[in-house]
């Protein structure tokens, strides 16, 4: 771990503190939210957007920008505050989150929100779309990379592996998949519902480069992103980020009750205080 990465990690972490609280606030406006899937991906979002992706918030359609496809679209509340923070749109627009007429729904819509490269919500689609974008970059002779964040549960969708096979076939080195390996899907642990391990070997056998990291540690995330190769002809690249669904609010950590749920009353204040206090050591006690 280099010092530079450590410093950047610290900066990202500071920029990011407000975001996690914002996720909770958005979920409260809506009356319910995908808290836990968002919390597991929170450090990944922040690292990508504050320290890694090639972007220009003043020009959301900049042809050479990196693309980001949020295949696990239910974590959109993790993305909106970051996009607002970066200046893609005024933060006050989020005050009407999910209300009729608002551009901001539970799942991201590319037709209404600057900075969203593709709509999502139905799981399994994102990686194929990212393959199409990476092929486009190659034809257009542009060197942007296409990032696609996947949930671990959606790896059970056959389409993911159609896309993984094609990315290996076309040697789309500019395609980066990031798996939010938060251990849970709706009905239980992925390994009970439909086992996805050994997930790195599975991707490698489809022709991918794979890294596995702690997805809540900024230094690890930034180091992994730093190791990514540029767009070109070679192996597509996947980062398996080991995370904890619901991370940061103890009652939500690895709890099946919080995939879609709502905080109310004092619980809301408790959760917010917990978030403001920063990440506490993870307690190895699952509520599954």
């Amino acid at each position: 771990m280099t010092g530079a990465v450590g410093e950047r990690g610290h900066n990202v972490s500071r920029a990011f503190l407000a975001d996690r609280a914002m996720f909770v606030r958005l979920a409260r406006i809506c009356g319910a939210g995908h808290y836990s899937s968002t919390f597991s991906a929170a450090e990944l979002f922040a690292s990508l957007y504050y320290a890694h992706l090639k972007l220009d918030p003043r020009d959301p359609k900049w042809p050479d920008r990196d693309r980001f496809v949020l295949s696990k679209g239910h974590a959109a509340i993790g993305l909106y505050p970051i996009l607002a923070h970066l200046g893609y749109f005024p933060p006050e627009l989020l005050d009407n989150f999910t209300r009729l007429g608002s551009a901001f729904g539970d799942h991201p819509n590319m037709k209404h929100i600057p900075g969203i490269d593709f709509s999502s919500g139905s799981l399994g689609h994102g990686l194929s779309i990212a393959v199409g974008m990476a092929l486009s970059a190659r034809v257009q002779k542009r060197d942007y990379r296409v990032y696609c964040m996947l949930g671990d549960g959606e790896l059970a969708e056959g389409q993911i592996w159609e896309a993984a096979m094609s990315a290996g076939h076309y040697k789309l080195q500019g395609l980066i998949a990031i798996v939010d390996r938060n251990q849970l899907c709706i009905d239980g642990r992925t390994e009970d519902v439909m086992a996805i391990e050994p997930v790195e070997e599975r991707f490698r056998s489809f022709g991918w480069e794979a890294q596995r990291i702690d997805g809540h540690d900024f230094d690890s995330i930034l180091a992994a992103l730093g190791r990514l190769k540029p767009a070109g002809t070679g192996r597509p690249q996947v980062i398996i980020a080991d995370t904890i669904k619901g991370r940061g609010v103890r009652r939500m950590e690895l709890s099946l009750q919080w995939h879609v749920a709502n905080l109310a009353g004092d619980d809301y204040a408790d959760a917010e205080a917990e978030i403001r206090a920063g990440l506490q050591p993870y307690r190895e006690k699952a509520h599954v």
Partner: protein
């Protein structure tokens, strides 16, 4: 022996006079003018003018005539393998980046297997993906695994999607540049291989969303789409010799329906209306027209010609068209019987 296209096979051995196998089926009659691979050739031509056109297939380029494009424009052809979900998703990704992908497979795979992927990644986003699918309706003798008898029913409910069911080679040639220019997703049913040339005799011009009267007649209005327009024209000729004057209205855009033209023709007094389509009688052009007429006060006689609500048999295609009522002879019979009031159980 030159076969009489109006003569039904008398026995099971009647199929012996048919030269096609179950799979390599051309809907062309032996003596009919044809064009080879009109889709592939017209896509190459369109691609010369439009550099953003790309071709994609799920291991069916050869059987969707896309191989012509692949040979002519190898740098703009993407083989996605036998993976229709990926095909639609990747096409959406390319469309999002400004390309106009023509994605081909069989109609059964697009409509049944890839529906969600077309719906979520393409239609909702109104992306410029042109889904062009071979073996629509009953155009193969391979049985239900290959016969997309309900593709229109599946796709008609999808917002933003334009649906085209072309009749012949001429219409395909005209439709390809038109759908490439159209902003938004399109599903086009494809006739492939040796495709009959029919509409040149009628001075036809294809336009998205436009139905055209091909022949006029005072006794009955026959509304048809796709290859059934060809059958309708043949049936009309035969019926004319027997003094029955049939008007043929060709509706190649299934969605959006040309309501104005259909209503203007159907509400002319004194003509029963019959709709013929290469599709199950459920959820296709027939029901779309029926609903339209009902909403606008039509009170005349109405009937459909189409495939029954069942999984169809495998076999030689002309035999199957006879069996299920799509041949010109059967269309003419159906109309004659229906007009004569001798039909007991109209479907």
């Amino acid at each position: 022996m030159k076969r009489d296209k109006y003569k039904r096979p008398q026995t099971a051995s009647g199929a012996a006079r048919l030269k096609t196998s179950a799979m390599i089926a051309s809907i062309a009659d032996d003596d009919q003018p044809v064009k080879t691979a009109p889709f592939g050739h017209s896509l190459v031509e369109a691609a010369l003018a439009r550099p953003e056109i790309v071709g994609m297939s799920a291991d069916l380029a050869k059987y969707t005539d896309l191989h012509i494009f692949a040979q002519a424009c190898p740098d703009r052809f993407y083989q996605m393998g036998m993976a229709e979900q990926l095909l639609m998703g990747a096409a959406a990704g390319m469309a999002r980046e400004g390309f106009v992908p023509f994605a081909t497979t069989y109609a059964v795979f697009a409509s049944r297997r890839a529906y969600d992927f077309i719906c979520m990644a393409i239609a909702e986003e109104n992306l410029n993906v042109k889904i062009v699918c071979a073996l629509p309706g009953l155009t193969t003798g391979y049985g239900p695994s290959h016969q997309a008898t309900e593709d229109l029913a599946i796709f008609r409910g999808l917002p933003n999607l334009t649906i085209i069911d072309p009749c012949d080679a001429l219409e395909i040639e005209q439709a390809v540049p038109a759908i490439a220019d159209h902003q938004g997703p399109v599903y086009m049913r494809l006739l492939r291989g040796k495709v009959p040339l029919v509409l040149d005799r009628y001075g036809y011009r294809f336009e998205i969303g436009k139905a055209r009267i091909l022949v006029d007649g005072a006794d009955i209005l026959l509304i048809a789409s796709g290859l059934m327009t060809m059958r309708a024209l043949e049936a009309a000729e035969q019926l004319a010799q027997q003094g029955i004057r049939v008007a043929v209205l060709h509706v190649s855009t299934i969605k959006p329906l040309d309501r104005e033209t259909i209503l203007a023709e159907a509400l002319k007094p004194g003509r029963p209306v019959i709709v013929a389509e290469n599709h199950t009688v459920i959820g296709g052009l027939g029901e779309a027209v029926a609903a339209l007429l009902l909403r606008h006060g039509f009170s005349g006689r109405f009937r459909q010609i189409g495939l029954p609500d069942e999984f169809l048999d495998a076999g030689a295609l002309p035999t199957l068209h006879e069996r299920y009522g799509l041949s010109a002879a059967r269309v003419a019979d159906t109309i004659r019987t229906w007009l004569g009031g001798r039909e007991r159980r109209p479907s």
